[in-house]
Amino acid sequence: MKINSMRFLSAIALALMVASPYTMANQKLDKMSKEDSNWVMPGGTYDFNVFGEQTEINVNNVDQLRPAWSFSTGVLSGHEGTPLVIDGMMYIHGPYPNNTFALDLDNPSEIVWQHKPKQDPAARAVACCDVVNRGLAYWPGDGDTPPLVIKTQLDGHLVALNAKTGKEYWKVEVMDISVGQTLTQAPYVAKDLAIVGSSGAELGVRGLVSAFNVKTGAMEWRWYATGPDEDIGLADNFNSENPHYGQEGLGQKTWEKDAWKIGGGTNWGWYAYDPDLEMFYYGSGNPAPWNETMRPGDNKWTMTIWGRDVNTGLAKFGYQKTPHDEWDYAGVNVMVLTEQEIDGEMRKVLTHPDRNGIVYTLDRETGDLLRADKLDETANWVKYVDMETGLPVRDPEYSTRMGHRSRDVCPSAMGFHNQGVMSYDPEQQNFFIGINHLCMDWEPFMLPYRAGQFFVGANVWSYPGPKGNREEGIGSGQVKSYNAKTGEFEWSVMEKFSVWGGTMATAGNLVFYGTLDGFIKARDSRNGELLWKYKLPSGSVGYPLTYTHNGTQYVGINYGVGGWPAVGLVFDLEDPSAGLGAVGAFKELQNHTQMGGGFIAFSLRGQGPFDDLSVGEYKPNN
């Protein structure tokens, strides 16, 4: 562990040395993120509210929303995430082979630049859940280094492109597909760091998070989810405010022998950042293998909400939501940062709709657990979370074990919430949550670890939850409005299929989302009433964004069905337990939509750049 310790020290040194330029670039991006014309990071802003302040499109006129223009990426498979919009340019990403396109919003019929990496196609074979990619990061540049668009490749590369030209600025190896490691995540920029996680827990990949200096491509720090504390990167005061979460030595102690080396805890979800605290937040994922009998112990620090110092990456707190996971309730879901008055006190909190069916609210400075509410009362593996201990109080009936087929476990392995984002209306102070209403049967089996091969050890059959129509295979989704202060769901509606991509809200009292069967919908965010929808070419596993360009507010969304729920469709599978149980759950999907891949921008009455009919026309030069 020498390398890590050395890096640790140099990271701190560097952080201290170059503190002031860090802060400048940081502020620049933060400031840009607040402009209506930009969407500079996956969450829109550092607090990941996925919220547009615009009111041009609102409850009164949203029914006039029409496509303004569209762009196919030339690739099928799941198109997760949402593009970035910066200074009149849109940056569009896509699944493997992870092409990136820059479009001028004044004339999106010309591609300003495109980056089409050549990757080893073998990467596709080690991706667990379709060959998805969740998005891009942007670093605004300083005098010396140009603005950068930073991307991940499924084959494990992190690449920085010159945002003006699309030329590769630097390119580092983060993951190695030969040992089952991939990248599907959107990287994240805070200060002058590009932060990136890891994928592959279904292949026993030991999770880690790394930061690279945007200006040099040099790695600044790297911390793991499991193993020795020096690898995990615990600050001196780690969990000092909540010692009952556990502190030293647990990354090894809660595993049998070397099991932590192949113990998962990847992080392929989203990051949020608090520029004041200089802390960033994310969740580590499921322990490997899924077969719990093969890994006695709490399996720390998988399934953990992390609050880490951005400069060093060191963890100030870590709260493990699902110790010794038995259901693949990978804890990587989105963290939304807000201020809430909870029990009479204003707190800087993070709210996290976890895959395990519980939405958690933590004080994001201390890690204190403030709320833990079931996303749907049908979650049955857990009775409640003991707020004193922070521990879930389990219902042993829904536990899993070798030699046993557990039935009707809710949520299913896909979770009540998965990779989708969650939006927050700061005025209403409500969260809008796209939910999977899915339960499952689960039956573990034994298998040895072989680097680069699937290491799951469980058969799973997922299906719609009790409120859905299990026979027809529909009713597997919900959208809910959640109030973190009261723990109440202010409204809740059923959807035909899981709301996989998540929601985007606007000050027009609207909440937008895409559906797996290919609608983009707008609801009144105050009461859930459906106000508008449009039938996209293909199902959406992405989420909408909004931006204002030349005085017009646009709402846009990626379409292209895929991701875990659509692996049956993407890979043409039929056995209901195939695709780690997704095929059965979504067998109906193929009767509603087919693959596709692209982006559509909507505006009121479809107004847009081509209202000027001369835009994009051939101009004869004689």
């Binding site: 630097w170 580092v172 490691q181 030991r206 491509g217 009998t293 029990d343 201990t389 034994m446 670890y449």
Partner: protein, 99 residues
Amino acid sequence: MVNKMKIIAACGVMGLSIASFSAAVTAYDGTNCDAPGDCWQPKPGFPEKIEGTKYDPKHSKEELGKQQKAIQAMERRNAKRAEHFKKTGEWVYDISKLE
């Protein structure tokens, strides 16, 4: 603050659970703290350690070491690239061109 004294409460629960563990299968709820953050409890009928039991997957040591090797190799390569970049302002990915 709400969270004060939690650790004490947690330890209380822990003590109680330990007492009931081997006594009654019905009392199993998966949680039984040995120490803060170390609360896993084997299921009734399942071993606390799987080594040598029928659940021992007998992983090969070599396989278990492969990830770290791969990561260290990438880190070395990346370090060379970044070093060259800092010196020359040019990013050369192909390591063979740097050696």
